[in-house]
Symmetry: C2
Subunit: 150 residues, 2 copies
């Protein structure tokens, strides 16, 4: 069900792992491919189900391990909303998340650099932030079904 990684994506995976002294494995390839295949912010369980179609023996523990590894080497971001299961996002561009309360879907919202700047500027002296997380909650008129893009 899951298509192989493109040459480019595979290289990206390989290099990112290499920088933190880790290797590409069949499991990591598939988990990464699953994330790229459908960018709908899947939970670990979602990833597990999808990845299993290509690799039936894959274990849930390994999915947790792979995702943790990817987060560690900056290949993907974790996305948390309230107390729900953690979701994973391979979009590395600065962006916020919009959580549709009706459907549970999570959408990426592009974040202009000037907004990020103005946010940083509201921090009092002495506060140094490496990370800013912004999440919206509400309803959206769930438009285009959103293709199963790359």
């Amino acid at each position: 069900m899951i298509q192989k990684l493109t040459e480019h994506d595979r290289e990206n995976l390989q290099e990112s792992l290499a920088t933190s002294g880790q290797k590409v494995t069949p499991q990591r390839e598939i988990v990464f491919a699953v994330l790229l295949a459908k960018r709908d912010h899947p939970t670990v369980e979602d990833v597990f189900q999808r990845a299993r179609e290509s690799m039936p023996g894959l274990s849930l523990a390994t999915v947790y391990n792979c995702l943790e590894t990817f987060v560690g080497c900056g290949l993907v971001r974790q996305v948390n909303h309230e107390r729900e299961s953690t979701r994973y996002c391979p979009n590395l561009a600065p962006h916020a998340h919009f959580r549709d309360e009706a459907t549970g879907h999570v959408h990426d919202i592009e974040l202009p650099p000037e907004i990020i700047q103005s946010l940083r500027s509201i921090l009092p002296a002495g506060f140094n932030s490496e990370t800013i997380e912004i999440s919206f909650r509400g309803r959206s008129q769930e438009t285009a079904p959103r293709s199963t893009s790359n």
Copy 2:
């Protein structure tokens, strides 16, 4: 250990509860007082410990219940960071949170209305958001020990 609610705070509690058809109880008074006494974004467990000093028989379940009730009637906000325990905040003014990775402390960051506006404006058409949450993560030069105000 915990001082009683001021006349003003008690009224506030009473009215907020009333609007959603609920009543003031000794447990709710104490839990609310605990939140107001030390605005350090305590976890449920923190609140439980502090409240027990004034009411030894108080149960953890009740603390969960009270806090849920307060969130429901808009008296306090929940604050989540990553996968950690939920924290509670009685500051109703629009504000972001800064989580100090060194100490674990959570600080309120005032949020100017124009920032909120500009954030709303980045939402594509069709997205209606009722809530925006902003959280910073980083280090702060932990200044003034922050008084046990109010």
